[in-house]
């Protein structure tokens, strides 16, 4: 770390000057090793894919407005359904989590950059390459066996589309492995000297848990996909029953990664919520250690629950009981988190701005996803609703109501830090209202559809479900419209938004100690750890000074000038 010590000296020196170097817009299109550039690159690229995946979802919902397959051919429906799932998971939620991790971790722990900046840039650039490769499969007919790609179907439908899908997931998986190596090393080795592991922000804890899951799970998925690829193009029979293979083995290997992947997709956003709520409720996070350790507990338990996706598959009875028990235990650490977040808000001084609206909205919707999650953990009930719209509703409540709402909370919260400008509050609230209404209208009725007998992944369905499906389709249009105020707001605010200053939210975590957007190498002078990440209300009581934080920050900025 001798180089970094030198850098601190130079950056301190630079800090004395009136102006620090700024990133040029061209930097965002190059192989740049600055973690903040990479974070923005991840975020913008993920959003581009989000719009593609969302457009595919709208085609699906339009098709499902009527029971007959009238808008698109059933085969094409399965292709866009497969692509929607793959894009939203591998090109939207997972990279968006990596975006926040890249941008925030070094700032939060007082480091100048990630531990391996070049590796970090390599990890990023594999993401658009994998994404464009996946998109290219539209020219040969994309995979159509669902994002799970269960053989034998994946071996007999859309051969080259399936092969491109496999290669693309392998590239994206490698990218996440490289990223998580970086996150773990940075969090464990590069914290500023005063910061012990129990005084780092909870977002870092959640990324520690997430990265561990990625390192343990992704190689197993890669193995499964490579074997599937051999079955597909080399005629082997690892999973092909026609040659003596076993399709159930693929399911085990796939879910050994893909159940933890659910936590890979949601844990970073648990971390974001743990950051956003205390700042805007002006109250310390309730139960810091409980939240930190419950992330690790969820990650550990997440590794031993995978076969609950296979309760109706080739799973013997005793194994079903084992996986039911482990799955239900996850409700305990998850419950601790939900209760702790709720207690954080209770008795606070809540500033109900866009970030907080999305934060509270996250708890309210994730709760529904969690409760239906306990239901589907129960084997007898899961046997009924497995592979139905009940499950579609469940995981959208977890991944959209949970992850995506928290993601927007994070954007409204850190946009001032990322760009130096505030987002428009009115449009932010409109965005929230449309998202919340549209989301619930789309996905709440799906619970009923599934219980009453509508199976998932169908382009045509029984006429008795039409009216409810129409409601879902209307909801999905509202959801599509809800992104418009957001996009306009972001584009307008980047250039014309109100200047944010260092710390518009009067937050205590370290990223708010530096300028907005942060200088290259992050801190003009070595950051001072003068408060824990969530010690709201403490100074007020002790020193009896209302604006102690602001004054101290003013002092710091005065020194900087």
């Amino acid at each position: 770390m001798s180089t970094s010590a030198e850098k601190i000296v130079t950056s301190t020196h630079d800090g004395q000057k009136a102006e620090h170097k700024q990133r040029k817009w061209q930097d965002y299109f190059t192989f740049n090793t600055d973690h903040k550039v990479i974070g923005i690159q991840y975020l913008v690229t993920a959003f581009l894919f989000y719009f593609v995946g969302g457009a595919l979802a709208e085609v699906m919902r339009t098709e499902l407005a009527t029971p007959e397959p009238d808008l698109v051919q059933p085969e094409f429906y399965n292709q866009i359904m497969t692509m929607h799932g793959t894009i939203m998971l591998f090109l939207w939620i997972i990279p968006a989590g990596a975006a926040f991790a890249n941008f925030l971790i070094p700032l939060m722990i007082g480091a100048e950059d990630m531990a391996f900046p070049r590796l970090n840039a390599v990890a990023y650039w594999m993401f658009p390459i994998g994404g464009i490769l996946l998109m290219s499969s539209f020219f040969v007919g994309p995979a159509q066996a669902g994002w799970t790609s269960y053989p034998p179907l994946s071996l007999v439908a859309s051969k080259w589309g399936q092969e491109i899908w496999i290669l693309s997931i392998l590239i994206l998986g490698t990218s996440t492995i490289l990223g998580s190596i970086n996150f773990i090393t940075t969090i464990l080795k590069m914290r500023m000297p005063d910061m012990d592991i129990h005084s780092m922000p909870l977002f870092c804890w959640s990324m520690l848990a997430t990265s561990g899951l990625i390192l343990l799970g992704t190689p197993v998925l890669a193995a499964a996909l490579i074997l599937l690829s051999f079955d597909l193009i080399a005629g082997t029979s690892f999973f092909n029953p026609a040659g003596g293979g076993d399709p159930i083995v693929y399911q085990h290997m796939f879910w050994f990664y893909s159940h933890p992947a659910v936590y890979i997709m949601v844990l970073p956003f648990f971390g974001i919520i743990s950051e956003v709520l205390p700042v805007h409720a002006r109250k310390p996070i309730f139960g810091y250690r409980a939240i930190a350790y419950s992330s690790l507990a969820i990650a550990f338990l997440g590794l031993i629950v995978w076969a609950h996706h296979m309760f109706t598959s080739g799973t013997p009875g005793w194994l079903r009981m084992f996986f039911m028990a482990t799955t239900m235990v996850i409700a305990v650490p998850t419950g601790i988190k939900v209760f702790s977040w709720t207690a954080t808000i209770w008795g606070g001084k809540i500033n109900l701005n866009s970030a907080m609206l999305f934060g509270v909205g996250f708890i309210s919707l994730f709760l529904i996803g969690g409760l239906s999650g306990i239901m589907v953990a129960s084997v007898p009930f899961d046997i009924h609703v497995h592979d139905t719209y009940f499950v579609v509703a469940h995981f959208h409540y977890v991944l959209f109501g949970g992850s995506v709402l928290a993601l927007f909370a994070g954007i409204y919260h850190w946009f001032p830090k990322m760009t130096g400008r505030m987002l428009n509050e009115t449009w932010g609230r409109i965005h929230f209202a449309l998202t919340y209404i549209g989301f619930n209208l789309t996905f709440l009725p799906m619970h009923q559809l599934g219980i009453q007998g509508m199976n998932r992944r169908v382009a045509l369905y029984d006429a008795q479900f039409q009216s409810v499906n129409m409601i879902c389709t209307i909801g999905s249009y509202i959801l599509a419209v809800s992104t418009l105020p957001f996009v306009v707001n972001v584009l307008w605010s980047v250039f014309k938004g109100e200047k944010a200053g260092r710390n518009p939210w009067r937050a205590l975590t370290l990223e708010w100690q530096t300028s907005s957007p942060p200088a290259i190498e992050n801190f003009e002078e070595e950051p001072v750890l003068w408060a824990g990440p969530y010690e709201y209300g403490v100074d007020t009581e002790m020193i009896d000074e209302d604006s102690s934080i602001e004054e101290m920050l003013a002092e710091v900025s005065a020194e900087a000038k």
Binding site: A325, G347, G348, R457
Partner: protein, 331 residues
Amino acid sequence: MNIPSNIVTLIVGIVVTLLSLWYGQNHGLLPVAASSEAVQIDELFNFMMTVSTGLFLLIEGILIYSVIKFRRPKGDTTDGSPIEGNVPLEILWTAIPTVIVLILAIYSFEVYNAMGGLDPMAAHDMGPHTVARAESNSKENLIAFDPDRKQVALGLGVSPETKEGENQLVINVNGIQYAWIFTYPESGIVSGDMHIPVGRPVKLNITAGDVLHAFWLPEFRLKQDAVPGREVQLTFTPNRVGQYPIICAELCGAYHGGMKSQLYVQTEEEYQQWLQQNTLAQSDVESTLAANAASSSDSEFLAPLAAEIGVEADTIAQLHALHHHPLNAEL
């Protein structure tokens, strides 16, 4: 913490409890239940719905109350009270979910046992068998369960403490893109719909001919994947006459959504009538299927004819004419 007075808390608690109990029984989400096991699953779901409603009302109520009550007045830049935790409270809300999931796990285990999920004949997996896909529709593969070979299958077996093991009606189920084929080894009938008499235990031996399928009976709350090369068993007893959908619930290709069939639970007389009609209609094909069944005399009689048969398309065409249920299969 600023906890409201006890009497208000008490009233809120009672209201939440009553609302949960009411909604847990009156959600109206489930379709009709056509077997006694389905009723048990519904009771389990109602229990989960009750607990979920309670937790939902509690948390959402606190959230809504908080964002209304604890709003920051304009211009107020002070912080809330610096409460960083509360160990007794945290122990309480760790204990509550623990107890709930413990009760739920035991309850689910009991229901699953009552469904026959832990029947040793059904609960062990002996691994897959090799099948060539081209031959998977041949009639040999449809006769799945052979007690003499001591093969046991996956799925749901005989419920303990019932007489489901006696007088079972065995039906072999084969899922192919995009149809279900039901073979009755007793009578030799091959059908595109399933007809069963009410009150008699049914044992299905499920397999698939090409890709994965899943055999789903929503009104019986039963689902089991059909896996090529594996035999899976599903045992249940219908207790309600009616016509119910049979749905494929595992993505199996473009027309997965159209892979549907009908289950007719009939009175004993109606079933016998159907049996007779179809036995007559299919007497020329049954010999190959009924080698081990009660009608051995018939099969001996018809044995010489067996060589002349074997065209699947004919069978299907007959079924088509009989039931007016077009099969989407391209056989």
